[in-house]
Amino acid sequence: MKEIKIYVMGKEYLVPEGLTIMQALEYCGFFFVRGAGCRGGFCGACSTVYRKKDSFRLKVGLACQTKVEEGMYLTQLPFYPANKAIYNIEELSYDSQIFIKYYPEILRCIACGSCNRVCPQDLKVMEYINAAIRGDVKKVAEFSFDCIMCGLCASRCPAEIVQYYVGLLGRRIYGRLIQKKAKDLEKKIKEIEEGKFEKELEELMKMSIEKLKELYEKREIEAE
């Protein structure tokens, strides 16, 4: 297998081509306590900053989802000292100033777009921060929905905004106060509380396996 040269925090290592950054670091003998989480691109624990040899341009990626490349200079950012606002969701009500109340620093955004450039999920981060300034909850919620909270945006923000917590606040307000409640759900909970299904459930719980099997095989399946 072809080997390539990478530089882990400046030190040179030879690794087989085709590994992810995470696999390559392990190949070199690094053991992860921090910096690895789900290993599937969801938890944001393995943010990595790198540049290619002879280039000034900084790139980012998730170590578990990015292939190593020849001449990569890399380091991980396993933790970022971000400030999270404390609130009680039950006491929140929506008004257009809500984001500014909890995260006043969003007003310092200089629209440089650094957050957009580093987002490993390719989200329009700056756009949802601007929506937060305007109090547009729907846009904050929808534009930030795929956020894995890796913290790379905050690490590059000259205004010291913690974008991913602003997005989280927006989504919770949207999910709790703006999206309409599910009516079927209310009704079903009421029926359960009134004991509508108790008798049927009790019979099922006492039923022999043979009888259960028979019911199961015969059960009606809702059409696609």
Binding site: G18, L19, T20, Q23, E26, Y27, F31, F32, V33, R34, A36, G37, C38, R39, G40, G41, F42, C43, A45, Q65, K67, K84, I89, Q121, D122, F145, D146, I148, R171, I173, Y174, G175, R176, Q179, K180, K181, A182, K183, D184, L185, E186, K187, K188, I189, I192, K196, F197, E200, L201, L204, M205, I209, L212, K213, Y216, E217, R219, I221, E222, E224
Partner: protein
Amino acid sequence: MYLDYMKESIKKVEATREKRIKETFPKLKAEEKQELLKNYHPDYKAGTVREIKVGVNKGDLVVNEIADILESYSYLNPENFKYENVDYDVDVLIIGGGGAGVSAALSAFEYTKNILLVTKLRIGDANTIMAQGGIQAADKENDSPAIHYLDVMGGGGYKNIPKLVYTLVNEGPKIIKWLEELGVMFDKKEDGTMITIHGGGTSRKRMHTCKDYTGMEIMRVIRDDFFNKRINYLEFTCAIELLTDEDGKCCGAVLLNLENGKILIVKSKVTILATGGAGRLHVQGFPTSNHYGATADGLVLGYRAGAKFVYLDTIQYHPTGVAFPEQILGQLITEKVRSLGAQLVNCDGEQFIYPLETRDVVASAIIRECIKGKGIKTLSGYGVWLDTPLIEILKGEGTIEKELPAMFRQFLRFGIDIRKEPVLTYPTQHYQNGGILINENCETNVFGLLACGEVSGGVHGRNRLMGNSLLDILVFGKRAGKRAGELLRELPPIKKLTLNHLITYHKELKEIGIDENRKSPKILPDYRKGEFQKKLPFLINL
């Protein structure tokens, strides 16, 4: 980017697509399913399970890899352990920071503020956050907890514990309501109606989704609530043993700070195990869809303290793990892909199984197809095609980006556009069906010790249905927290802290001649190149 011979096979898949759109592969009859499972499911492979030789389940069958860690010594020596310096004296200790542990903390918080949650990674670095497909709950007009009950029992091979299933299905709608009120953004219509879909083995469309980030959305929200309540927690700290008092009651745990190797002692009135599953044990050498810390530590801790388990001889292999590219081998391709209409096809472009049979059946069918020579060779094994472009044809252009953004992104990073090309898939180790036996209040047979989530067993029988795990961790997580709160008033005071259970357990291990160097829990898997695989850094002082 696919290799050339794979592209040749894709041409065959494309050639049959038109015909397959109208084709529904027949569902298997009960006997046919049994036959398929017996011949091809990894659980039935000879020599992969064995009778456990020590502890309360002595004589029961257990998957070899789990038996290995159960039949191992503690890192601690119970004969000379110092109990004097208690670092934390709490009402409720929660071990595990995934969906089960965090929801347990939230409900225990209604009874006491003196809680400590410990996790060996960060809060939320868990299988919960990787659950893409959805969460089941019988809340629609045409559905009921009774219909859900039957689906769960049939899926679990009728081995599920009825009272646990009853609790799971009955509390489903209430859990969805709880999440809605916490601000989880479910996929909804304009009027608030939940958009729900089928999962393997469901008879009603009761899978609630948040795109293909369902578990991530739920975890983000409950974790935020956890932080807002300022509940105490320790990250990168692993419980390596439970403590028992002179009566055998659980009364805390011994922790290991993974960053400096320091031992910490927690005294607790009630302890909740919420440590998750076992994917990183790589049963039978399978790759896994699980997170980095899924090493079944809780099973080891609970078992040594005397907690009984059920069904540790069965593992769930998710039918559709990634088979190519190699970099993401074994990672999950959510069942939602099949819910949306993608079919499974072999190297000739033919269907071979109804895509929404239960997971055990679909996984077996894929393995059979590959053994028959109808699979596609990959770098480390075989795979079959999951025909994702069908989704765009059936549900309209743009559906994949809207409904499966995580998966779309994941494959695009490796040069595969799943809107245009199918993906290669093969079963991956996904879920620990069994675990520590609990009752509906999450109590184990050890006083003071509760368990919830994947570490517990019984509710899913021998095969869990899609979408019932997110429900399980929240239903039983919350119940564990509540029960812990109630127990604070009921349990007798703690006597002296001991590791007496370990003395007995070690004696049993010695009697059957287990090598004294074999130690557990595993804590984290070691994927370093062979020459570096020595002692883990945090174990140096033990």
